[in-house]
Subunit: 265 residues, 2 copies
Amino acid sequence: MQNIDPRKKPQYPIEAVDNALRLLQLLRDGGKLRLKDAAAELGVAPSTAHRLLAMLVYRGFAVQDEFKNYVPGEAIGVGPARLGWTRLLRQLSQPHMELLSGRLNETVNLMVRVGTKVRFLSTSEGSNALRVGDRQGSVMPAHKASGGKAILAELDPVMVHKLFSSNSAEIGGDYISEQAYPAFQRELDAVRRNGFAANFEGTEEGISALGMSLHNWRGEVIGALSVATPLARFRPLFDAGLVQAIGETRRQLEVDIAANPADGE
Amino acid sequence: MQNIDPRKKPQYPIEAVDNALRLLQLLRDGGKLRLKDAAAELGVAPSTAHRLLAMLVYRGFAVQDEFKNYVPGEAIGVGPARLGWTRLLRQLSQPHMELLSGRLNETVNLMVRVGTKVRFLSTSEGSNALRVGDRQGSVMPAHKASGGKAILAELDPVMVHKLFSSNSAEIGGDYISEQAYPAFQRELDAVRRNGFAANFEGTEEGISALGMSLHNWRGEVIGALSVATPLARFRPLFDAGLVQAIGETRRQLEVDIAANPADGE
DNA sequence: ATCGATATTCTGCATGACAGAATTATATTG
DNA sequence: CAATATAATTCTGTCATGCAGAATATCGAT
């Protein structure tokens, strides 16, 4: 049984990974998947399919709807970044983020916006015993994450409005109704005035975050930093000068960014 | 060390899968990845990272550029199908595809178009010793695959032209230059006249295929069937009435499709 | 050519991915 | 509203297989 196949199976295949990737494709192309069907498709026991799907859920590639069906998660369908500078940004940010997370003992995130989403490029975890976990690779609605709001606040309001009323927003699940929009608009205005954005359990249970935008030498927004903390610690941190701490880090990082050519933009 | 994390790690995690999914995210957000960096990011040996990346390549989630860098493949960034009827289509097609592949001893594919791409929903492999392998889950440029051409030929030419000149086509790597377009246009005209489309090694080395479009009760194109064969067998098959065989299958399948409500469309 | 760096192949061993059974949750039926 | 059926999830022993490390190959630079 010889299969002609230019894309031949690797010589040391990893079955678990192959199954996971096939599930990813099924989820993408079928829209939804029940555990039993998934098991049947892959030819594995339901228990195994369950473990695989649990991993997809964990990494944001799937979520379970109210009837236990597995459906595509945020992470499915976000295109590859055509942004060439994300690597550089990540590199430049790392030391600054580590410094900041070390100083505050809280977790610091770096993110960029793509469409109505923000993508977490990297995380520097704080050293507190109880801390917010790594979010690298996560994708969240930009209008809910603190860093996302910080970015959106500095874009042309008309463009933002279009963005979140478009039907691409609908597909992504980030549509904001005309009715709800004024409130959102006002929040962005406040963010613009304050110079930072906050998020109290808007994306994840028990987690609050404070975000601030990042700019290139030309003054254009290119991304954001955010500090994420357990809800209970937010207030004390804020009173102890959280905004200034992030602001300081932002300032220094932007100097670094300005100093580097970043050919793409 | 207690991490606050609403999205907690599954209790029986699969490390290999987790690593693969993280590579997927890195690839998406970083654009490109060298083996060594991948290994460093994951905290695994280069040999392990190599195996993982080989799997991603195998399933179309990554490709290697000329300098051995791993870059996102076709499968990354194709959004989830908002098409609810793909499940139904797959279901209805299956018996017909099995019949046809059994009759011809060749591999039969079912695909739908999304943007400038076609997605392979399912495959029924022929029983020949040497045959074309399973393509389920694959994503290919619609203008190169036989089934894709069959679909495009029946769409509004103006819309097709826009589709492949848009800069979303550029992002997807399917851009057709104004210079090359007339030839493509003529090919689609020929397809329309013939009622089928062919593909000789346009997508994969040594493989040829013949594709025919599928319609719903209203006469609108909804997808395509294709028969894929090793290049050497194409001619004899064609002369033995390949077109008629597929046409017959298509006719019967379309009866089934028309008979089923397909609420979405 | 020679070296250095990075990518790929190979192999033994211990880990951890798998199946199957047990348990729980959810749907269906009389 | 039981009672039953079906599907999802948890648990556990076993053996396959994913991992690391070494060997080899490939590519670039000097």
